[in-house]
């Protein structure tokens, strides 16, 4: 890192206006409100009225942003952030600062607030002001901070694999560009992440080099959806489902709560699952029908689920369309459906019929979603059904799309192979690894003389490129993007590029030959986008502070469904063939490594897949009955052959999977990747034929006779008849019959708690007499199991990764886990219900772990937290043994000091230590634990303490009442903060104004294993299912909790 010099903006240059605008800012109620929510500890100080260091917020990005806002565009922007040898008034060592930014990602960037300590970003939170985030994020945002500090990130310019430097690169680039003959020798390949500045530069580029080619490729992108939308509604549009308005939702092969959705879809869906009273269930709760080939998070939330091969989804949709058309009398829909050439499928007619009736009964308030992997004609038919049901414009909005038409990778490859392109600039991405097989990308790339690859890691494409340019992480660069709702977001750097990386827009500017720092480029776009009339400095400051431009979200426009075009598209579409005894292979975007880009992120690799609980690799998911038929068990290596190409991949039995279908997730098996991703999983890209095609019929599977151990974190997935004790649920009907008035203890007296006698403790306990009593509630009705909480916890609490081998040994360290059960009445492994249950320390008031610790290393605090004194712990593991929830985690090795590949090497003669960059990620408020000590969820005790200290300071300043109390819901734990559905609530039980105080009184609230008398501080709110009583499978709803001593075999694999 170069020496950083803090150059405070000079008075004469930026001075008065800047301060004045901040002064205005300071007193806006909105600003206060925002502060109250986001920086609660500080809120009370702010009440004191005096300007304190916390007012740094006003200075957010001050040294960089405001000073550099070059309205006259002549001032060199400051590149130096704050050095800590010359601290400024608002920077207090050890105190976190928070800055807004955004994480560019597919389908829309995530608005963020980044926690930084002494200039190091350590933790990502969602931007509470932005409607897409509302403070929540997802696993990728949470883990992105680890990518920033990845010691194996690309650090050098490489010329043909040899170390080079930026000067040489710029020289070469200039020569290439100047000789590009109007750009006819130039081609660009970028990913699909929206970026207005990049789009602006692209426009400029194409003006300057009209002959240049610009292609966009995202292996998990939605090209067929774009096409389907352009057929159904016209080009230049995108559809936005409004799940908050839909009473009845049918999703066909679309995991909108998982890998095919975004935060707003998740939140909107959950908003219709949030119930307070028994009356709400019928009044508010939506009903979800899911048709899918494998269990997904969406399927897990379903009220009715039909497992069906992806290729047969067309058959189902056809049946449904016919039913809908007969209900609505819409002949054109019937005609369209009749013309769809769908394969044969055995589907209970009643299922489609009753589903159609239910959708029709809520006309205008129902929604049908079709998977992005489905053929265009099927998606078009989906839009037609929506149109017939009156959903278009209501539950299915049509917005203008920002993305411009570009070449696809197939066309680009075709073009490159013609040999006219001399220079190919690849902005991010890894086409050598992830381009579809038919593109013959390697050949295409080889026919270009100079390939320039901008990438944050040296990957497969980099090593085949002429120039590799290290890319800056989004936390290191200026940039902009658009959120899922279309609003304009600014990406703000938190730290100077650690390894001198270049951002996408900086590289494009270099190609253009226009001078300009990234900041100036972004500000120019900002001025264009915002159509400013007034004070640009203030507007920019507001945007930076908020993280987004107000009122920039896209709005729905009135567009009619184009019946005729759709009809043509459907009737001219090729038939989907799927005969008996065939298997289809479905390619799934991975829930962790996505398309492979996060392969070197240990947090993501070790995060269990929300459904399969598989870590460190991928597997071929098959149904238990298929496995039985083929004589395969989990871990057996299968050879999948498709179109002459084959891969060998271990099988994983997944209950509820369609029988004639195999699912594999892409993105694994990276060949050139850092040490974390090395040798993890199997690359299935070679089996993918062409872009957008994500399932193929006719795959053959053969046993290889080999078997490998899969790193599955949950060995046993069956509930063993304990659903009624652990994961309580009821149908909306059952709840109505046992409402608060009729049966207040309905959920509390289930299972073993129904007849357990009152208990008492033999021990006396110190009084829990603090003014606070921390507690948590987890709403199983809104928890979708996405596991963002697990990564948030990992980032917040410095939880190490342990590696594949140790996961197989059962030693993963996650303080919080997402239990996933498959259960059904009668124990049918093929048609189970899926239940997710977040499990963390229950902070028992009468904690079994505390009495057994011989050295008093785990004790209770007055405010009710079961605390760990790491220094005192000698590691007997007795506490973990005596924990009924098995939430305690033991450091079997020195995970923080040893690499995960050398844990067994003799310590005394092997290297020790953590890479310096990774040290920078650690939360300074949380101890990094050594080997031999026990650890566990502490309810984020560091946040608790910070809040308490703030409350005490405020009480002292005001000389107010004692003892000082933290205001209700002033802060929350990391898991609760990240949760996009608000399923986790943390707070003060003793504060009657807090959310938790109300939730714990909920009728649905129950505590786990109450009969043990552990007096847990975590309440679970029972799950409510909302089945349609007319459906053939209605009786299955809630069966996971009724099932008694089911057959033990159905689980995620032994």
């Amino acid at each position: 890192m170069s020496k950083r010099i803090f150059q405070h903006p000079l008075e004469s240059q930026t001075g008065k206006r800047y301060w004045r605008s901040l002064g205005q800012l300071k007193d806006t109620p909105e600003f206060r409100g925002w502060l109250q929510r986001e920086f609660p500890q500080g809120a009370s100080e702010l009440d004191g009225g005096e300007v304190t260091r916390r007012n740094f917020l006003q200075l957010m990005g001050a040294s960089v942003a405001l000073a550099g806002l070059s309205l006259s565009a002549c001032r060199r922007p400051l590149k130096s952030l704050v050095p800590f040898t010359k601290g400024v008034e608002w920077s207090v060592p050890g105190k976190a600062l928070f800055f807004s930014s955004a994480m560019p990602s597919r389908g829309g960037a995530l608005p963020l607030v980044v926690t930084t300590f002494d200039g190091r970003p350590t933790k990502i939170e969602g931007n509470p002001l932005h409607p897409v985030s509302k403070g929540a994020t997802n696993v990728w945002a949470q883990s992105s901070v680890l990518d920033l500090y990845d010691p194996q990130r690309s650090q050098n310019y490489l010329f043909r694999g040899e170390k080079s430097n930026s000067a040489a690169f710029y020289q070469a680039l200039e020569a290439l560009v100047s000789g590009s003959k109007e750009g006819s020798s130039l081609a660009f390949l970028s990913d699909g992440v929206p970026s207005p500045t990049r789009e602006r530069l692209r426009k400029d580029l194409l003006l300057k080099f009209p002959q240049a080619k610009w292609a966009v490729y995202d292996p998990n992108g939605s090209v067929s959806e774009v096409e389907a939308v352009s057929i159904a509604f016209g080009s230049g549009y995108r559809v936005v489902p409004r799940l908050d308005l839909a009473d009845v939702v049918l999703t066909v092969d679309r995991d909108f709560l998982g890998v095919e959705g975004d935060l707003s879809a998740v939140r909107d869906f959950a908003s219709r699952r949030t119930v307070e009273k028994s009356g709400d269930a019928k009044a508010r709760m939506n009903r979800l029908y899911v048709v899918e080939n494998r269990y997904t998070l969406t399927g897990g939330m379903s009220d009715h689920r039909l497992r069906l091969a992806a290729a047969k989804a067309a058959a189902f949709l056809k049946m449904l369309a016919l039913e809908v058309s007969s209900l609505t009398g819409d002949a054109s829909l019937g005609k369209m459906a009749a013309e769809l050439k769908a394969p044969e499928a055995k589907i209970a007619p009643a299922w489609a019929k009753e589903c159609a009736v239910d959708l029709f009964s809520r006309k205008g308030k129902s929604l049908v979603l079709v998977g992005q992997r489905q053929p265009v004609a099927v998606q078009v038919l989906g839009f037609a059904i929506n149109a017939a049901l009156g959903s278009v414009g209501k539950t299915l909005e049509v917005h203008k799309s920002e993305s411009k038409a570009s070449l696809g990778i197939m066309a680009l490859a075709e073009h490159l192979r013609k040999g006219k392109t001399e220079t190919l600039i690849i902005l991010g991405g890894n086409p050598v690894f992830d381009a579809p097989g038919d593109a013959r990308w390697l050949e295409a790339q080889a026919s270009v003389q100079t390939v320039i690859h901008l990438s944050a890691e040296v990957n497969e494409t980099s090593s085949k490129a002429t120039w590799h340019v290290p890319a800056a992480h989004y936390l290191e660069q200026w940039g902009d993007s658009r959120a899922a709702d279309g609003s304009y977001l600014v990406v703000q750097p938190m730290i100077l590029p650690l390894y001198g990386g270049l951002s996408e827009i900086e590289l494009l500017a270099k190609v253009l030959g226009t001078p300009g720092e990234a900041l100036a480029l972004v500000q120019k776009t900002f001025l264009e986008v915002s159509n400013l009339t007034g004070d640009a400095t203030a507007a920019w400051a507001t945007t930076l502070r908020n993280g987004f431009l107000e009122n920039s979200a896209s709005r729905q426009i009135s567009v009619n469904f184009r019946s005729e075009e759709s009809q043509n598209a459907v009737s001219s579409a090729p038939a989907i063939l799927f005969s008996e005894n065939q298997f289809e292979l479905v390619f799934v975007a991975d829930s962790k490594v996505d398309d492979g880009r996060f392969a070197n992120n240990g947090w993501l690799q070790e995060l269990p897949d929300p459904v399969t609980k598989l870590t460190w690799g991928n597997a071929a998911l098959i149904s238990p009955s298929t496995a039985q038929r083929q004589g395969v068990v989990t871990g057996d290596v299968l050879k999948l052959t498709l179109g002459g190409k084959s891969v060998e991949i271990p099988a994983l039995e997944l209950p509820g999977h369609a029988d004639d279908s195999i699912s594999v997730s892409v993105g694994y098996g990276r060949a050139e990747v850092g040490s974390v991703g090395q040798g993890v999983g199997i690359d299935v890209y070679p089996l993918i034929g062409t872009e957008g095609l994500r399932f193929s019929v006719g795959v053959t599977l053969a046993k290889t006779g080999k078997s490998i151990a899969l790193a599955i974190t949950q060995e046993h997935g069956a509930l063993e008849g304990r659903g009624i004790d652990l994961t309580r649920q009821a149908t909306a009907q059952e709840w109505a019959e046992n409402s608060e008035e009729n049966n207040p203890g309905y959920f509390k007296k289930m299972g073993i708690d129904a007849h357990a006698p009152t208990n008492f403790s033999l021990y006396s306990h110190p009084p829990l007499d603090d003014v606070h009593a921390w507690g948590m509630a987890v709403d199983l009705n809104t928890c979708i199991g996405c596991s963002a909480c697990m990564v948030a916890c990992q980032a917040e609490n410095n939880i190490p990764i342990v590696g594949k081998e140790q996961v197989i040994n059962g030693r993963e360290m996650h303080w919080m886990r997402m239990d996933r059960y498959f259960a059904s009445e009668g124990g049918d492994a093929n048609e189970p219900e899926m239940v997710s249950q977040p499990m963390m320390c229950q902070q028992c008031e009468n904690a079994p772990c505390e009495t057994v610790c011989p050295v008093n290393a785990t004790v209770h605090s007055e405010d009710g937290i079961n605390v760990m004194a790491y220094n005192r712990c000698i590691g007997t593991r007795y506490c973990a043994n005596n924990c009924p929830f098995k939430v305690r985690r033991f450091n079997f090795f020195d995970y923080n000091q040893r690499s995960i590949t050398s844990l067994y090497r003799w310590n005394l003669i092997s290297p020790k230590g953590m890479p310096e960059s990774l040290q920078m990620q650690k939360n300074p408020n949380v101890t990094v634990r050594m080997r031999g000590v026990m650890e566990k969820c502490t309810f984020c005790v560091q946040r608790v303490q910070e809040a308490k200290i703030a409350a005490k300071v405020s009480a002292r300043d005001k000389a107010s009442e004692s003892p000082p109390q933290v205001p209700a819901d002033a802060f929350t734990s990391a898991c609760a903060q990240v949760c996009p559905t608000g399923a986790i609530t943390f707070g003060d039980l003793r504060n009657s104004k807090s959310k938790i105080a109300k939730l714990k009184e909920s009728q649905r609230g129950y505590r786990l294993l109450e009969y043990l008398n552990t007096e847990n501080r975590v309440w679970y709110l029972a799950r409510i299912r909302n089945p349609n009583p007319k459906m053939p499978d209605a009786s299955r709803a809630g069966s996971a909790s009724r099932a008694h001593a089911s057959a033990g075999k159905h689980n995620g694999g032994h």
Partner: protein, 471 residues
């Protein structure tokens, strides 16, 4: 003794079997026992040591490796926080029980047959407790901080947690070891003096002399000696019951299904005596083969009595096993009945560790039943084989209790299999090396039979007493 029982009514005066066969004289006893120590080291001893000492060394290397790298080199995981370590601990501590029982309880109850086996049994106890003590010490994550367990008020005023059964263990085991060492040593003093007097080498005279503490066999010495011995026996007796009761509290006071049972203390004590006697037999039978001269001291009668104790305690243990099953059924707690009927005593092949349960059942309950027959009790081969079954069975008992309860407890999501690592296996094997090496050293340098005590049960020692009348 069933023969005596049958004839008890018609025979007013039963003939006791002499405790020393062939009417060996006092000097014969001294000569023959001391000779074992005094004769040149036999070849077999070196050969045996060649096996046991390297085995002990391997164990020590494993321990060093484990302490320096972390507990992870073992097979333990979440949820199986304990497995072989505590299994081995309880196994060894159980073996240690026979020694104290023989030396203290049988002493107080005037069971004179104990005299020829008590020295070796006590030595075995000590060595077993040494092996046992290794495991709780090294199983902790931070060995170097083990002193936190000591009730020493430190600068922070933190005491150990007196509610923790693990702390009780520390006190119980260390007390037991201390008292056992004292008891053994006090009993050794007259014999050390004998060896001192007989020693021909200077070193022998010095070393035995030093440890004999100036014993001259004076009347006063004997009086103090016997009083001390009686007091120590009195002190040890409650320990026989307390140590294993407290070890069982580690499990009984927890809340895990399969651990949380009130039957554990008596069940563990019976099991410990059961396993301890099996180990005494395991060692004494080969010893009496190697030293034919001592077969007049350790007679068939001794073996017969020990076999009967094994039968009795084995049946108590069997009763406890069945009672656990009954209570699990009667209690109607789904978690408990799962542990007992699905995880342990499962017949369906679905129980993860049911094999271990059935090994335990067969070895501990079924195999000792052969001891109902005198013919079997007097057949050294059968006795030896059954002893081995019991040794194995008692190890599996602890394994079953610890691992089945941990591997599958309340939340099925956290269930997990356990399998031991090589380091773990070698550590356990190493403790056998340590145990056997120590025992070999003991046989080589100390009288393995309590000379002075055996002499006391010969007719010569009591010319006018009951013994002489009987014989």
């Amino acid at each position: 003794m069933e023969k005596s029982a049958l004839t008890a009514e018609n025979s007013a005066e039963l003939k006791r079997q002499p405790l020393v066969a062939h009417g060996r004289s006092i000097s014969w006893i001294t000569q023959n026992v001391s000779q074992i120590v005094e004769s040149p080291t036999p070849k077999w001893w070196w050969i045996a040591m060649l096996f046991t000492a390297p085995l002990a060394l391997v164990g020590l290397i494993c321990i060093v490796y484990q302490i320096s790298n972390g507990v992870g080199v073992w097979g333990e995981n979440h949820p199986n926080g304990w497995a072989w370590d505590i299994t081995n601990f309880v196994f060894w501590i159980g073996i240690g029980h026979a020694g104290t029982l023989i030396s203290a309880v049988l002493f107080l109850t005037r069971q004179k047959w104990r005299t020829s086996i008590n020295r070796a049994a006590e030595a075995m106890t000590l060595f077993a407790v040494v092996c046992a003590g290794i495991f709780p010490a090294i199983h902790i994550g931070r060995f170097w901080n083990a002193y936190f367990l000591a009730p020493v008020p430190n600068a922070n005023g933190i005491w150990p947690n007196f509610r923790s059964p693990l702390l009780w263990d520390v006190f119980a085991v260390s007390t037991y070891f201390t008292v056992s060492v004292l008891f053994w040593y006090v009993g050794l003093i007259p014999d050390l003096a004998t060896l001192r007097d007989r020693a021909k080498s200077k070193i022998g005279q010095l070393v035995y002399g030093f440890f004999a503490l100036g014993w001259r066999g004076a009347n006063r010495h004997w009086r103090h000696y016997e009083m001390a011995y009686l007091l120590l026996a009195g002190l040890s007796t409650p320990l026989v019951l307390s140590v294993h009761s407290i070890v069982s509290f580690d499990f009984a006071t927890s809340i895990l299904p399969g651990w949380h049972t009130t039957i554990f203390p008596p069940y563990f004590v019976a099991g410990a005596i059961f396993g301890g006697f099996a180990m005494v037999l395991t060692i004494m039978l080969p010893a009496s083969l190697i030293f034919p001269q001592i077969s007049d001291l350790i007679t068939r009668q001794h073996v017969d009595k020990m076999a009967k104790i094994i039968l009795l305690t084995g049946s108590i243990v069997g009763y406890a096993y069945l009672m656990e099953l009954f209570v699990a059924w009667y209690g109607a707690n789904k978690f408990e009945s799962f542990t007992f009927f699905r995880a342990r005593a499962a017949f369906d092949g679905q129980g993860w560790y049911q094999w271990s349960y059935w090994i335990m059942m067969f070895c501990n309950v079924v195999s000792p039943q052969v001891f109902w027959f005198k013919k079997m009790r007097s057949n050294y081969v059968v006795v030896f084989i059954v002893s081995q079954f019991v040794n194995v069975g008692m190890w599996f008992e602890r394994f079953t209790i610890i691992v089945t309860s941990l591997a599958q407890d309340f939340l099925p999501s956290s269930w997990g299999h356990y399998s031991p690592s090589l380091t773990e296996k070698l550590t356990f094997a190493g403790t056998f090396g340590i145990f056997l090496s120590l025992f070999l050293l003991f046989m080589r340098f100390l009288p393995m039979i309590a000379i002075s005590e055996v002499k006391l049960v010969t007719p010569e020692a009591d010319p006018h007493g009951a013994l002489n009348k009987n014989h």
